[in-house]
Symmetry: C2
Subunit: 136 residues, 2 copies
DNA sequence: TTAGATCCTGTAGTCACTACAGGATCAAGG
DNA sequence: CCTTGATCCTGTAGTGACTACAGGATCTAA
């Protein structure tokens, strides 16, 4: 059964555990977000608990909409034990501003599309207010 | 002054007229969204009115969040004079569903971040509820 | 021992652009 | 007509955040 030297797991296993695609994990390692794990005698990666923690951290950040560079900054703070609640809060608040901008852009699209759609006859005719506006 | 054979304009000019980057216009041509314009004797592209219309159509679609494949479909409908108001409306309504999904994802991020941020002390201390949650 | 699952590497593809290099052409002024 | 400087031409490479291969090696369970 599980071998992989003492307590580590393979890439496939940690991928399932964290819900992160196995290729993505390799990618995170390549760009330096995830430290290189040790290897089995045959060259297979062996992931320890710390890698799982790291991956979950990254995943939560992604779910909050941070990009990989932002996550790198956050991880650096944590690694260097230089976390300042004030700065992290600022970081988060800035990010909220970006998110709100995106939401407002999307809402504008939504409004416009719904407005256009409401003017459609809904019939199988060549005359369409949506196309008219696009061609205006 | 303006030469460029009869009534056409250069790429730079049409870029300014439409508000679309000149490189982007070349890209649209390359992927077949924009028909190839005629050329001057020296090989420079000469854009006519129809190109300007096309580019404005594309731009409006992009502003409504359609991707280039969706725009390609829309343009094909128009070109083949196969516009059906019913189908276009359906198309738009489907797109609205996607937009709403994006908005709700973003709102969830926003809510979570604001909630976390509200728990921050705002002080320059290493203890931070945001980092705590990310590391949990 | 062997089958089949998983892993290794490097590379290429995705989307919608954007940016460059190195050279040709253009329009305007003299 | 000639020069100058702006614009244009081409092909290619880079962006972000993955994802998907190919062709081979290694692993684990039976």
């Amino acid at each position: 059964m599980h071998n992989l030297e003492k307590s580590g797991v393979s890439r496939g296993v940690i991928a399932k555990q964290t819900g992160i695609n196995a290729e993505t994990i390799r990618y995170y390692e390549k760009i330096g977000l995830l430290s290189e794990p040790s290897r089995s005698s045959g060259g297979h990666r062996i992931y320890e608990n710390k890698h799982g923690q790291r991956l979950r951290f990254i995943k939560r950040c992604r779910e909050l909409g941070f990009n990989l560079e932002e996550i790198r900054s956050l991880l650096t703070l944590v690694d260097q034990q230089e976390v300042s609640c004030e700065r992290v809060q600022h970081f988060a608040d800035d990010h909220v501003i970006n998110i709100r901008k995106k939401i407002s852009d999307l809402r504008k699209m939504e409004r416009t599309l719904k407005e256009l759609s409401s003017r459609c006859s809904g019939e199988d005719v060549p005359d369409c207010p949506i196309i008219d506006v696009l061609q205006r």
